[in-house]
Each structure stands twice: as structure tokens, then as C-alpha cells.
Symmetry: C2
Subunit: 224 residues, 2 copies
DNA sequence: TCGATTTTGGACTATATAGTCCAAAATTGC
DNA sequence: GCAATTTTGGACTATATAGTCCAAAATCGA
């Protein structure tokens, strides 16, 4: 081999991720990325290929970095509700305390990325699925400890928690108000109370039979 | 007066909103806006001032347009849970049926807008607050009808529902899977069951006392 | 030391972008 | 019809952008 790299690609990726996270994909320029990573354009392109490719890798990186944190928070020697409550509280603290208010990178990407960008959305989906899995594993353990009803639908609860956390952080970005976020978290936690976590077999599942067209205007011919 | 306008500003605003909604703020160019509205640059600028200003007005427009829809859905002669269930189902249908998968415009803006953009975030916040108010009013009526416990904390429930819907739609953008979204909706609805909606006075409220630093890395010196 | 190989800085390109400007067109009151 | 007034199309500007390219520098094996 010849001349070695003067930078650490992992470190550069972390810094790039931070920028994408803080500013969003479109609003991040290559100059921003060069400045944040300390790399020149040639090194950036040689290492990561393109801005878009760097985003994809940043998403993966984010997931790698955050999943263990969440897993650790849920593995604390606490009743699962208390562990989740603490996790919610930490997010809320981060949000209301100001500077770190960037939301969840996965959520930001999901919101910003155009829906025709299959590859990128797949990465985001994988990340969300991993979060969901982390929640589910913790719930399974909690159920085994007797904290949830034996019939608790932990898969559904995990999905719900994933969406709930996303909702909390998204709302928090626009409305970093402790009272509001506390209400959301408090109510969310109630869904974990033991009596709510039994399966309810005669309850209709979702889908298939809704008629009235409400919500938001659907049409518009798929703006390019 | 002299020469009259050849276009309808309201109509143009609607079209502009659609583009922002579909593509996001940064990814929408003035050419996109001109094409969608049919206006020339001069007319656009004379009418709306700037791209950013047009976004702000689009947000307001979106809120004006969607609030009555939600209000109407919640005012249907149904138990509140059924009305909300139907609303969730409609959103899910829209998401999984494909083309309309743009998420909520407010959520998209909250995710994309930089947090230093006070004015824009305030508009978004107002929109979310209005949604919350719509939920709350419906819940108050439901409580008066005896569908919720007299002590139900309808304000907290409304905030929770606002975040929950945001979470559902955000997750749906990355993962338009009926099973996943159905689980989220199903679990969310459980929080509305009568027995869950009583105030629980000795339960600790949120905030103030969380210690471990988990979640996602907070630092980074406020990337410009 | 030398040739081979890789990295690096930064100049460069081609394009896209938000916003400006003005002459021509359209309309009004008279 | 005419002067006044407003709108309109689109040319124009200045800048920012993603990505390319290459000569110089740095390192390695021999």
C-alpha cells in the first residue's frame, strides 16, 4: 500500500450524521459536510461515494449508535413501566432543555425523504423495526417477570411505543413544552398498565372497512 | 383600479401547499411552485412575498383545511372511540393505499424546519394546538355523554392523541404496512377505554427528576 | 533512494436556485 | 380613445450547489 488516510472514516461518518441530523438532508451542503468532517471533497467522495450515499450510511450509523442506548435503558433493573417512564423523561428533558432539539434522525428522514426514494426509506424502516424489536424484547422479559398479563400482545405494544416515541419527539420539536409532553408521556404509559395489556380476542382488528373520506385531501397527481 | 389578476390567490395557495406538502420545503423550487400554481415569478412574489412566506401561509392554509375535517369526523353520531377508530382507519387506508403517503404536513414541517426558525415553528405549533383543541372538544362532549369517566383528563388525552396520530403517520411514511399501523391504532385506542381515563391523583407527573443520560447523543455545538 | 500507489487540497464545471426587474399587455375611469 | 395603474412573462443576476479532476504530497516496499 501507499499513503495512508489522514482521517478516521468512522469519526467522519459520525460527524456527517450529526450534520444531517441537525439540518436535514436537503439543507446540508457538501461544504457543511466537509467542514464538519474535516475532509476535502476528494476524500469524502472517495470514502462515501456521494452525498446521498453518505446519508444512507449515516442512517445506519444512527441506528447502530442509538439502539444499544435504548436497549440499555430498558434493561435497567426496574419494572418495565418505570424504565420506559424514565426513558420518556429523558427525552422530554432533552427536548425542553433546548439545544438538542433535533427530534429523532429516523423520524426526520421519514418525514423529509420523498416517498419514491425506496432505498432510503428502507433504511429508515429497518431502523424503526430495530427500535420496535428492542421494545419488544424488553416487553417479553417484563411479561416473563409477571409485569404484563401473560396474554399481552407485546408485538403490538412495541409498535405502539415506537410510534408513540416518534410522536412525542415530533411534537416536541414544534412545541417543547414540558406540560404538553408530560401529558403525552403520562397517557402513553397508561397503555402499559397490566389490565390493558391482555389480548382482547373479540375486538375487531384494524383495516378493510372504512368508508367516509375524511382526513386530508388525498388527490394530487403525484407531484414529481 | 386597473388590470385585474388573472388568477385566484386562494387556489394558487392551495396548489403551493400541495407541493410543499409533497416535496418538503427545501426540495421545492420556485420553478416547482410556478408550475404548480400557474403563476409567473412576478405574480408569485407580488402575492406571497417570498418562498418562505408562502410556506408560512401554506401551513396556515393546511390547518384551515384539515381542522374542519377532523372536527367533522369526531362529531359523527358515534361513540367517541368508534369515531376515532374510524379516523385512524381512514388514515391507515390512505397510507397503505399508496399515492397519498405524504404524512401530515404539520409533522413534515416540524421535522424539516430548523429549530432556529421561530416563526415557522410557531405556525406549526399553532396548528398542532388546534388539532389538540379539536380532539379535546370532542372528548369533552363524549365525557358529557358518559363515555368517559367524569374525572377523565381530556386535555392530556387530546395531547396524547395528537402525538399518537403524528406518530402513526410518521411511521406509516417509512413503513406503510397495515399490520404494523393496525397494531399502533389498536393499542392507541385502548387508552381511551373508560377505565383508563380516570385521573389518578397520586401518580407522579412528569419531569424534573430523571438522571441517567440515555437516548441519543445530546452535544454537538449547535451546527449552524 | 526510487518507483509505485494512494491520498489530498482545491480549482473547476455545469447547473440550479431564490429573487429582481422592466417592458409590454390588460384593464379602469374619464 | 386616452392616461393612469396594475399585472404579467420572462430575461436576468448573483450565488450556491453536487460532483469532477488533477497535480502535488505522502507513504510504502524494495
Amino acid at each position: 500500500m501507499a499513503r495512508p488516510r489522514e482521517f478516521d472514516a468512522e469519526f467522519a461518518l459520525d460527524r456527517a450524521m450529526e450534520v444531517f441530523w441537525a439540518k436535514g438532508y436537503e439543507a446540508t451542503s457538501l461544504d457543511d459536510l466537509c467542514e464538519a468532517t474535516g475532509l476535502s471533497r476528494s476524500s469524502l467522495y472517495a470514502t462515501f461515494g456521494s452525498k446521498r450515499n453518505l446519508l444512507l450510511q449515516s442512517v445506519d450509523r444512527y441506528v447502530e449508535r442509538r439502539t444499544p442506548n435504548i436497549a440499555a435503558a430498558l434493561a435497567r433493573p426496574l419494572p418495565i413501566r418505570d424504565a420506559i417512564s424514565a426513558l420518556l423523561g429523558e427525552f422530554i428533558d432533552q427536548i425542553v432543555s433546548g439545544p438538542g432539539r433535533r427530534g429523532c434522525f429516523l423520524g426526520n428522514c421519514a418525514a423529509e425523504l420523498p416517498r419514491h426514494d425506496r432505498a432510503a426509506l428502507a433504511r429508515v424502516r429497518q431502523g424503526l423495526t430495530r427500535t420496535e424489536g428492542t421494545f419488544r424484547e424488553a416487553l417479553v422479559r417484563a411479561r416473563a417477570r409477571g409485569e404484563l398479563a401473560p396474554s399481552a400482545d407485546v408485538a403490538a405494544l412495541a409498535r405502539f411505543l415506537t410510534a408513540g416515541f416518534q410522536g412525542l419527539r415530533l411534537v416536541g420539536k414544534a412545541n417543547p413544552d414540558r406540560a404538553v409532553l408530560g401529558d403525552i408521556a403520562k397517557t402513553l404509559l397508561r397503555c402499559l398498565e397490566e389490565r390493558n395489556c391482555r389480548r382482547n380476542p373479540h375486538k375487531r382488528e384494524f383495516g378493510h372497512d372504512h368508508q367516509t373520506s375524511t382526513a386530508c385531501t388525498p388527490p394530487e397527481s403525484e407531484a414529481a
